[in-house]
Amino acid sequence: MSDNVVHIRNLGIKLGSEFAVIIEALDLTPGEVVVLDAESGAGKSTALGLISGAIAPSSFNGSVHRLSGLDVHQDLPRNQFAGPDRVGFVLQTNVLMPYLNVIENIQLPMRIAGLSPDASWADHLIGTLGLAPLEQRRPMHVSVGQRQRAAIARALLGKPELLLLDEPVSALDPANSAQVENLIQILAQDAGCAVVLASHQAFRGAFSDTRRAGHRSMNLEGVSYSVFSDDPSTMQEDAT
């Protein structure tokens, strides 16, 4: 367990009075990949936000949230547990800083963390993603697919221990989707990341053979729970 990149138990959030998203159990070792496969609206993005610590969780019994051996709690600054060498995040909407060029966007998390990227890895990453000719362009001057590649490069430049992918190809056309998914898979392997992919299309792409976390919906005392779990054990819930 001490080697786990992710070790989570009963980590969740109540969204309003009638809906909650819970990760009941999730364990990932370096290089492991898991897919959160559920219908739209099930809370996949929220689950990734919880894993990354970007979303503050509600209080649940037996809640454990550990990333790379570090207990994550609300008082811990994000840069201590979610730096670019620990967590990389690829968003569904390929958001980049609009006023920075592509290479500045890619390097930004490393600059924030005060880290220097591995030059050969950076060259490999940017070359593989086909971003070299686009480095000086602003996000508004590149295509949606190119923006998503830049976002992937930004997430992977620090060789993070955990890569979180939120519907990374949903905005792309099918041809581009397959290509980008393949690139992600290859680069994540090269970087040695554990990967959590949130997608409802993973059954037909590069991650179609990948392990899937279980998902179930349940209703308890008027609250609808969307539960993700690698473990079929029963959820222990005690909303406080």
Partner: protein, 398 residues
Amino acid sequence: MIQKLPLFLATRELRSDWLASLCFIAALVGVLAPLLIILALKNGVIGAMVGRLIEDPSNRELISVGAGTHDSTFFETFTARPDVAFMIPATRSINTSADAVRNTAGRKVERSVPLIPSASGDPLIDGEVVVAPGQVIVSQTLADTLGVGVGDAVEILIGRNVDGRSEIARTNLLVLGIVPKVRYGRAAIFISLSDLLSVERFRDDAKIEPDRWRDTQPDPPSYASFRLYAASLQDLEVLQRDLAEMSVRVRPRAENATLLLGFRKNLNILYVAVAVLAVFGFWAAMAANLRGMVERQRIAFSLLDLIGLPQQARSMIPIWQSLILVSLGILVTILVVLPITVAINGFFQSADGAFVARLGFADLGATLVLGLLTALTASIWAASAVCEITPDEVLRHA
């Protein structure tokens, strides 16, 4: 590195959104430039007028009205006051003139010449020249009329009427100096108090013979009048009030000096009020504009949080932007205003070379400090708004 990032990101955003930045700077110049031009005009016009008033000591004179009874205690009290620059007793005004003054060659004469008592520290007399008995300083106008200069002698003639018989006392006095026209424009003689008292005694006392009129006599117990100069223009009002409380009537030689000082004070208040209103208006507009910029970049700020930029660094971005925009605004304003003040000064060139529009380093420094303070305070709202943006917003952006 992390300390430099907010500045880097702030400048990059301003550069990227250059049109909005330019509009912001133009708005600041639009508010600040007229204010600075008004300040320059206020400094120049009022400053020059007050400067002229201050330069001319006559404007600091309080003229004694009527005849009084002023003893030595009165003079000692006022001479010791820090707001009094010069004071000397004087005789009744009827006795402060010579019937005639002529040069010793006797060919040029000036009639009814005022006799002005003078002593050490007389503000109308330049340098260390002090008249003693038997000496005078003459005004340039009188010197020109008589054709005399320093080192020459002039003869004064003092007339009186005793039982229908005219008698004249006369004496030669050495010219010690000349008072320029800018200090005293009319014909006059600046004379020692001792000689002035002799003139009064000769006119008042028939027993004093014309050929012994300047014999030494004891000082009188009181004096009817005085010459009084305040230390500064601002002291005139207080001195006049204090003398009035002692039933001593005086009037300022330059009535407009007090008016101008009051005008300057009111103008300063008016300018500060206009400036405060304008700065407050701009402050509100700037605060709203910066807040709007944060709102437009809400997702970008959320992303910065997600990728690890600490809250303090994120909140510094609008603060830096505010400081940069205001600094540029002030710089552009100065670049616009300085040539305008030069043009105004060129257009309204005054004879004495005084500037109509004038801006000092203190004015520009105060503008910069006030501007930066405005920038800092106006960015607080935007900075606090940044702190409320959470990383989950970018996750839910889809």
